[in-house]
């Protein structure tokens, strides 16, 4: 009985304290930015070579959606952009830095398509979400008569992303925005597991998207 009371106490404590996320956003401005009517940006994930820290597609989509939502800026999603400018942004051919841009801009068909889309900035996103710590145990039993779980799990996720903003016409990087978020999730189980999830990646995404919008639209 005492064990159950203790477990309930732990669950309640976790419910109140768990699921919290701490996010931090920083930006470095290296040039002037502004968005006029008709200007568009493309949000792209880096994935040239296999890497343990490849940016998740859903994160790139999330940033695109959040930047474009409401009174946001006009955004072309990653896949649409790569298809429209195929084969210039494939893993084999994508420019790795702004020094590669003049080669691309030199192709008339390329610049023509870019202008028709109204692309002014490219936003390259790098980074990923990793599990940095985990603890606890949980055992589940299934039998023909029924089943259930008992135990307690906790884990910490860390999201670290950085967005580089390229000005296509000026052919240079105009700034960087980074977003770090850390959060601990809990899963107590007394017959039924009750996940209390910290939405770390989502928090990093919304923070990054909001800051990118501010960065691009505030004239400075």
């Amino acid at each position: 009985m005492l064990l159950i009371v203790r477990l309930v106490a732990v669950i309640l404590t976790a419910a109140f304290c768990g699921g919290c996320v701490t996010a931090r956003v920083e930006e470095i401005r290296e040039g002037h930015t502004e968005m006029a009517a008709g200007d568009t940006i493309a949000v792209l994930g880096r994935r040239e070579r296999p890497s343990a820290a490849e940016t998740e597609l859903d994160f790139v989509d999330c940033v695109s959606r959040n930047m474009g939502g409401g009174d946001g800026v006009s955004v072309i999603p990653d896949r649409t952009f790569r298809d429209t400018l195929f084969p210039w942004f494939e893993p084999r051919t994508a420019p790795s830095n702004t020094r590669d841009l003049p080669d691309l801009i030199g192709h008339p068909t390329f610049i023509e398509r870019l202008n028709s889309l109204g692309i002014k900035y490219l936003v390259w996103i790098e980074g990923s979400t990793r599990r940095t710590d985990s603890a606890g145990t949980m055992s589940c039993t299934v039998s023909p008569a029924g089943g259930g779980c008992f135990g307690f799990l906790t884990w910490e996720n860390d999201s670290e992303y950085e967005a580089s903003i390229w000005d296509i016409k000026q052919r240079r990087t105009v700034g960087k925005v980074s977003s770090d978020a850390v959060g601990t999730s809990y899963m107590p189980a007394l017959i039924v597991p009750v996940p209390i999830i910290a939405r770390v990646k989502n928090s990093a995404c919304t923070s990054l998207a909001d800051q990118l919008k501010t960065f691009l639209t505030s004239e400075s």
């Binding site: 296999p50 068909t109 023909p144 008569a145």
Partner: protein, 206 residues
């Protein structure tokens, strides 16, 4: 209505789950490819896609004897159709290795080898696919001008495919390899030895 005992239904469900986990991964590539954004060559070309290419299927036993099947022949025509729409003034698919004007040259692609690796094999989180092509370049009368190889690579991270991870990620890796083949062809075309010679002869070597 048949009243099945609850524990029997439980065991049947568990058995179906187990069978699902043991099923051999099979993918059959479908879909379209983007038209490359390049300056088209003002020439008409022909393509001969033989039955061996169009039905190309790679089967391999890995992971404790499970057979993996990748059908990549099904998208070859879509690949070379999109490629040609962007690269040449016009193109035609031929039944034989001969063509009438205005076709200047004929391409005959063949897949020599397809390899793939799973995350379990490489201890990574990637499915990777390599496709090795060999292209024959023929004159319109069917005589051989030359050959050139093309090796394409594609990968897909498992983190992007939470449902049906194995087949979805393998399919995306194969799709990425097909796109890589088209990207290589579109951008390296003029540097390939037999092509360069032909383009010079046509005055298109630029």
């Amino acid at each position: 209505m048949i009243n099945t005992p609850r524990h029997v239904r439980g065991w049947v469900f568990a058995l179906l789950l187990a069978l699902g986990a043991c099923a051999s991964p099979k993918i059959s590539m479908q879909g379209s490819f983007p038209i490359p954004l390049v300056n088209p060559y003002p020439v008409a070309v022909g393509w001969v896609l033989d039955e061996k290419l169009l039905s190309y299927t790679h089967s391999e036993k890995v992971d404790r004897g499970k057979e993996w099947v990748i059908k990549v022949g099904s998208v070859q025509q879509a690949m070379f159709d999109s490629l040609s729409k962007g690269m040449f003034k016009s193109h035609v698919f031929l039944q034989e290795e001969k063509a009438q004007p205005p076709v200047k040259v004929i391409f005959v692609p063949a897949i020599e080898e397809l390899q793939f690796s799973t995350p379990a094999q490489t201890r990574s989180k990637y499915f990777e696919v390599w496709i090795k092509y060999k292209f024959r370049l023929l004159n319109a009368d069917g005589s051989l001008r030359g050959e050139f190889p093309l090796t394409a690579y594609g990968k897909a991270h498992t983190q992007n495919y939470s449902m049906n991870t194995t087949t979805s990620a393998l399919e995306e890796a194969t799709n990425a390899a097909c796109r890589d083949a088209l990207a290589f062809f579109a951008l390296q075309f003029r540097t390939l030895p037999p092509v360069k010679t032909w383009l010079d002869e046509e005055g298109l070597g630029g």
